[in-house]
Symmetry: C2
Subunit: 339 residues, 2 copies
Amino acid sequence: MYKNNLILQALKGDITSQIPVWLMRQAGRVLPEYRQTRKKAKNFIEFVKTPQLAAEVTLQPVDILNVDAAIIFSDILVVPEAMGLPYSMAEEKGPIFQNFIRSASDIQNLKIAHTDQYSYVIEAIQLTKKHLNNRVPLIGFSGAPWTLFAYMTEGKGSKTFSTAKKWLYSNPSESHQLLQKITLSIINYLKDQIKAGADVIQIFDSWAGVLNKSLYQQFCIPYLKQICNEIKEVPIILFPKDGFFALQDIQQLNYNAVSLDWTIEPEWVIPLLPNKTLQGNADPCLLYANEKTIEQETIKMLNKFSSVPYIANLGHGLYPDIDKEKVRFFIDIIHNFKR
Amino acid sequence: MYKNNLILQALKGDITSQIPVWLMRQAGRVLPEYRQTRKKAKNFIEFVKTPQLAAEVTLQPVDILNVDAAIIFSDILVVPEAMGLPYSMAEEKGPIFQNFIRSASDIQNLKIAHTDQYSYVIEAIQLTKKHLNNRVPLIGFSGAPWTLFAYMTEGKGSKTFSTAKKWLYSNPSESHQLLQKITLSIINYLKDQIKAGADVIQIFDSWAGVLNKSLYQQFCIPYLKQICNEIKEVPIILFPKDGFFALQDIQQLNYNAVSLDWTIEPEWVIPLLPNKTLQGNADPCLLYANEKTIEQETIKMLNKFSSVPYIANLGHGLYPDIDKEKVRFFIDIIHNFKR
């Protein structure tokens, strides 16, 4: 079906002879070409909402970096916006919501997101698929329920998300109501992405790490379970950033793959997640090193994951100031690795 | 020696019949009394540098919260400042260094901190000891070498500390030089705190969590080892926040106790850290909950740590908007717990 099918094979559980690779935030500021396209929109939100521009930057890393999948350029906060909470993105400072969830009645006022509210993402996927012309698969994505809940109750980024966690501790039943509404919105959103052509889905639980095993069991696992049980059409990957404590519970869910951050030791996680494809987990900061160090550390990682179905990636998104040539070098090492 | 000796007993390895407790950031904005005293200084740095005020807020939680130890009110950035990098503290935004380490020559220009540069902390300890009048022990502290390095190279707070980590990956030998200078400064600082009367030392490795096992082994363990091998006069506690991956290596070091964040499961850590006193690890956000939930979760924690030498604490500092009455309630549950 695709000229390059490696990622889909790995997600089926194959130990592919060549290891596939894509990078979180590969469509991003690390590419001068992205920075050029970015100038065509007056702000980040308009950029995300213009399908032609989103498709353009989605395709760039396929051509420039030789990655084995594209991931649609968008933002995890599309879903809260579609539910009724518009936001703005302050350069360097992250997202700010004009209104955010402060009371139970705010939860009642939220919509379940439907196609009309995020049609620009669907159009961007359709456009991207056309231009990709079956070269590589396209990954669609969403934030996880907890991570979206965190922004929707905190109103902005945070190191601790203590306001969001205050909801979990002091209003557990309202928190469940909100998480359920978010989950139904995510499921609609993902189904539409798949209809538009997304071949794989990744769920970003970027703020898993501020919780613990018990909170994750109560407030994340049930909703992550609904999502993976509803999304049967394509393979689905879960990325529980800094959520080492949740991996045993995640193993029980129907995710095809788990994406790992760099704090997770391969030797520790491989026996913990049998039958899952693993993805990750180089520290993005490794790409600040010289070529010799990048090569050594990358080969070490590939050897450690070599015995299981595996997709190489970073343990988090690329940082904007990483040299594009180092990114290519990293990808070439992976492609040249003999399993 | 002290009317209340519980913490020192627990640090010796005793399973005390009453469980001792103190809280990170107990001398802080959670107390209205602290906020009153804080007004007497024109900014945070002046506040930290005024021994009378620092001693005043150090004593407050002993009287008001009934904790089993005082911890000297100060800031981990006293050491970088003493080495030659002054900083300011922007409310809500955290520390900003006017100059920070950008080159190898900047490292050469740094001093090893000596008594003269941090005498205000030493005076604050002497004053506090006098007023404490042997009621409870006094904890002195320092940031860990990596955590201070992180601020000194990043120049400010960060979610990722990617600039600091860039140093480790791209300039490992200069990074070691800087870490060594910081370590020698910390040792001077701690020795002086102990001479002034500190009965216990805690090392805060607040940014352990952005590293991984291999980086921690290379850039943290050797310096943490120097520190614990030099500080033989009093018990010493290490708090490697979010550093679950480092605990096996920390077990090998001569720290009497390890302070744990809330992501660490007692069942998992107890066999990993035999012969260490454990400290922690309630999620500070638990104190946003109602009394019933606070009681249930606290008792659960106490039962889980009940079989080992143990000091109850939070898994991180108190948040400023936590209700002081909830803090007292939490402490009372711990004191009333029958082991």
